[in-house]
């Protein structure tokens, strides 16, 4: 058994040696599918969740709602910005879950361009900020503002 473990460790080191050059050469293909356009039609911010929500899941959603109500109330009224808590387990939300490819509890931002294009992006960084509300709200405000400016 000990031998197996040493073999395992040996294999792991071999893997390291094999894969590391890939990163150093930087031949990764970026997944960037963001299209820069100054003509933004609409932005959607959705908090996807399950019926039974974990503490962090609720916090991510509540802070997002508060950010939008605080900083984007005009855009919300004019329909330029849409926000919603979406229970992914309800059948009526299936289309939205599929459209955003929500993989569970998540905060997703969708951008509609006037030329008909649509891009979506999951924001995972908000999860690191739930212990600091100001930090969370300031960060999400910047993200949404950037989306509106077309970046």
């Amino acid at each position: 058994m000990n031998k197996l473990i040493y073999i395992g460790i040996g294999l792991f080191i071999l893997l390291l040696v094999f894969f590391i050059p890939k990163y150093i050469n930087g031949d990764a293909t970026a997944l960037s599918n963001s299209k820069i356009s100054s003509d933004i039609e609409k932005i959607e911010v959705y908090h996807f969740h399950a019926t039974n929500q974990c503490y962090s899941c609720k916090t991510v959603g509540n802070y997002a709602e508060e950010t939008i109500n605080t900083y984007f109330s005009d855009e919300l009224k004019s329909g330029k910005l849409v926000f919603g808590h979406i229970n992914g387990e309800l059948p009526e939300n299936k289309a939205l879950v599929d459209k955003y490819e929500a993989k569970g509890a998540s905060l997703l931002i969708g951008t509609y361009y006037k030329d008909g294009n649509f891009t979506k992006e999951e924001n995972v960084q908000v999860w690191y900020k739930i212990s600091n509300k100001d930090d969370y709200m300031g960060y999400l405000k910047d993200v949404i503002e950037q989306k509106f400016s077309g970046n």
Binding site: F12, K22, T29, K129
Partner: protein
């Protein structure tokens, strides 16, 4: 700089292996893996008599986690399985199976449920006994199963951060391996601490065997509590 912003900065590091490691550490600290890791530490430390064995069992548990994570990442990166489908499936069923499974395990450890005894005649059974005796096979299996129990936050970290990283670099092996190592690190560290402290205590008391018996009951109770917690959270 707070701990969280440090973790965030490291998890989004431009060097993928560092990012993978810190996403793993964050996972180890998130509620579900924390609960399963505590259970694993309890299980691993049941044979505290032999320090080196305890440490190796911790490593084997981590290898079990690695098996699951590498398998999932490879299926996605190399075979192109749908991330959304796997993620939703595991979040739906992984957690559901975990609770009842832990309860059954605790009942076996408490001898309330008795496993049919195996005839130790043939070689396969003898090997099986040897493996389970040492606890390696059990802790490997524990790692494999525990890694499948995704909760919302650990799913965000794995499917929302680690998998995109693995896809970006077309690497379904090393990135998830480094991630797994970090998720099992607390268990290895605790096994290490136990190795040097509790085993000495047991030897000083010269009552290792009695100690082990009580440890086994204590561990069974931990399994029962964690199992009941998951079952209550998901089913009720």
């Amino acid at each position: 700089m707070t701990l969280m912003s440090f973790m965030e900065a490291m998890s989004t590091s431009s060097f993928p292996l560092i990012a993978a490691f810190f996403i793993g550490l964050m996972t180890a600290l998130s509620p579900c893996p924390l609960a399963t890791n505590i259970t694993a530490i309890a299980y691993i430390s049941k044979k505290i008599g032999d320090g080196k064995k305890t440490l190796l069992t911790g490593v084997v548990y981590t290898l079990g986690r690695m098996f699951t994570y590498v398998l999932l990442a490879s299926l996605i990166v190399y075979i192109g399985l749908n991330v959304q489908a796997i993620s939703l499936f595991l979040q739906k069923y992984g957690e559901r199976i975990l609770g009842p499974l832990l309860i059954i395990m605790s009942l076996i450890m408490l001898n309330i449920i008795k496993l049919p005894s195996l005839k130790s005649g043939d070689k396969i059974n003898r090997l099986k006994e040897k493996l389970s005796e040492k606890g390696y096979f059990g802790s490997f299996l524990l790692g494999v199963i525990f890694a499948l129990a995704f909760c919302p936050f650990s799913a965000v970290l794995f499917f929302g951060m680690l998998i995109p990283l693995a896809l970006k670099y077309s690497d379904g092996i090393l990135i998830p391996s480094v991630f797994s190592l970090a998720t099992g690190l607390p268990v290895i560290i605790f096994a290490f601490i136990l190795t040097f402290s509790v085993s000495k205590l047991g030897k000083i008391m010269n009552k290792v065997q009695t100690f082990e018996k009580y440890m086994r009951y204590a561990i069974a109770i931990i399994f029962l509590i964690v199992g009941a917690y998951y079952t209550w959270r998901i089913w009720i």
